[in-house]
């Protein structure tokens, strides 16, 4: 029944999915945190930039952003992100960039919600001790904010895992692209769909369970 799988690199495709997910997750966590810091910071220009970024980016379809990285950044502006002449590498990196740009808007909002759960007294006490703005943010507010939003961030991560399929639009050889190819070549439509659905559930279900557990574990008691 599974004979038709011969000749397809199923694991390899899912491995690309995992790589896209992990790299984009790290990138969007960093950039999303910086955006959140801008949005709560004292500098009006940065607050404005952060707000504008989030409101614009999260309202653009991811497909458009990914296509923009390829058509706009790469083909029009010639940006290769250090990928040389290797189209596969370039497209993979462009996809990661697009996913980071998009996902960080959601990470930013999750973290900002977390910052709002931290009582103002925490930051006041930190300022009163003599910590400067950056220290207050990185030592007191953000650590507590992160602990409060592990659950919401897990949801962002799950969405990101599924969103990596959009990278197929610019030819990145991840799971969804392989699925499309298999569906075109084989007569097992339902079975193929089921296999890929199962693959994604294998990636996302543990993410949700583990991070749910971590979230409870690290929650700040007040």
């Amino acid at each position: 029944m599974f004979d038709f799988l011969e000749g397809y690199d199923l694991l390899g495709a899912f491995w690309v999915t995992v790589q896209l997910t992990l790299l984009s997750a790290v990138g969007s966590l960093i950039w999303g945190t910086m955006l959140a810091a801008m949005r709560v910071g004292p500098v009006p220009l940065m607050r404005g930039f952060g707000a504008a970024y989030v409101n614009i980016v999260r309202n653009i379809p991811l497909t458009v952003i990914i296509l923009f990285t390829s058509l706009g950044l790469n083909q029009t502006l010639g940006i290769t992100l250090g990928g040389g002449d290797d189209f596969d590498t370039i497209n993979f990196r462009l996809a990661v960039l697009g996913l980071i740009l998009y996902t960080s808007a959601f990470v930013c909002e999750a973290i900002r919600a977390g910052i709002n759960t931290v009582p103002v007294g925490q930051a006041e006490a930190a300022r009163a001790v003599g910590l400067n703005f950056t220290q207050v943010l990185t030592l007191i507010v953000l650590p507590q904010a992160f602990r409060a939003v592990v659950g919401p961030l897990a949801n962002v991560l799950i969405a990101l895992t599924k969103n990596t399929t959009v990278a197929a639009a610019i030819g990145v050889a991840e799971a969804a692209l392989l699925m499309k190819e298999m569906i075109e070549n084989e007569a097992q439509l339902l079975l193929i769909a089921a296999i890929f659905a199962f693959g994604f559930v294998c990636l996302t279900l543990p993410t949700g369970l583990i991070l749910g557990w971590v979230g409870k574990k690290v929650a700040v008691k007040r």
Binding site: E124, G130, K221
Partner: protein, 258 residues
């Protein structure tokens, strides 16, 4: 109790430490601080009392610039309060603050709470910071709780940790904004005792409180505020036995008869 040096041992015994000159502040249309003139000398313990909403907390918070002022001048140890940035952070480190709601860093242990400022602001090395933190925790009577998180402590214990956290910076002056108001009655004394001891050791203190017993026994001066003004100030004996203003008489009759 362990003997920990208090900041002022090397300080001159007299001189103006905190000076507020015609300080004004508004919250929108509300004129919360009106032409406040207040000078606190080194080693002095000043208790600020007054009805709710009279501006006591706001006054306290302007002294380390948690609240900005609209006009007037505030100086600490001869230096005007800096506007923002590094200078302000440095000044705040010299001014200890104890809040009504404790505000211990919830994600850090008791020990880490008392070490953080020493390490990040004073750049003390970790080992010295820990030694000092443990000594201070012993001194306020919570040495055995060092590895717990704030939420695991009673209110009285948390407030004593908060005092230790402030003392760890070797402050020139300590501000207390109703430090016992959020406590269950049986815990009030354990906090007041620590404050009494600090006062005896010569710490300069500004204390907003409704604890008249503390005011009588520890204060050098009582400052009475109403409607954003300092209405009256006097030595505690004089103030409690013979208040001059009607506002103060009225206020005292209300709180002393309850």
């Amino acid at each position: 109790m362990t003997n920990v040096s208090v900041a002022k041992e090397d300080a001159a015994p007299t001189g103006d430490l905190v000076v507020l000159e015609s300080v004004n502040k508004h919250f929108g249309a509300l004129h919360v601080l009106q032409d406040i003139e207040l000078t606190i000398t080194r080693g002095e313990v000043v208790v600020v009392i007054g009805p709710s909403g009279s501006g006591k907390s706001t006054l306290c918070r302007t002294i380390n610039r948690l609240e900005t002022i609209d006009s007037g001048a505030i100086s600490i140890d001869g230096k005007p309060l800096p506007q923002e940035g590094k200078e302000l952070a440095r000044l705040r480190a010299d001014v200890g603050m104890v809040f009504q709601s404790f505000n211990l860093f919830a994600h850090k242990t008791v020990l880490q709470n008392v070490m953080l400022g020493q390490i990040k602001v004073r750049k003390t090395d970790k080992k010295k910071a820990e030694e000092k933190a443990r000594a201070l925790l012993d001194r306020v009577g919570v040495g055995t709780q060092a590895d717990k998180y704030p939420a695991q402590l009673s209110g009285g214990q948390q407030q004593r940790v908060a005092i230790a956290r402030a003392l760890a910076m070797d402050p020139k002056v300590m501000l207390f904004d109703e430090p016992t108001s959020a406590l269950d009655p049986e815990m009030i004394n354990e906090v007041l005792e620590v404050m009494q001891q600090l006062a005896r050791e010569g710490m300069t203190m500004v204390v907003v409180t409704h604890e008249m017993g503390f005011a009588r026994s520890a204060a050098n001066r009582v400052v009475f505020m109403a409607d954003g003004r300092i209405v009256e100030q006097a030595a505690p004996d004089q103030f409690f036995s013979n208040p001059r203003s009607d506002r103060a008489k009225d206020f005292l009759s209300k709180i002393l008869h309850h």
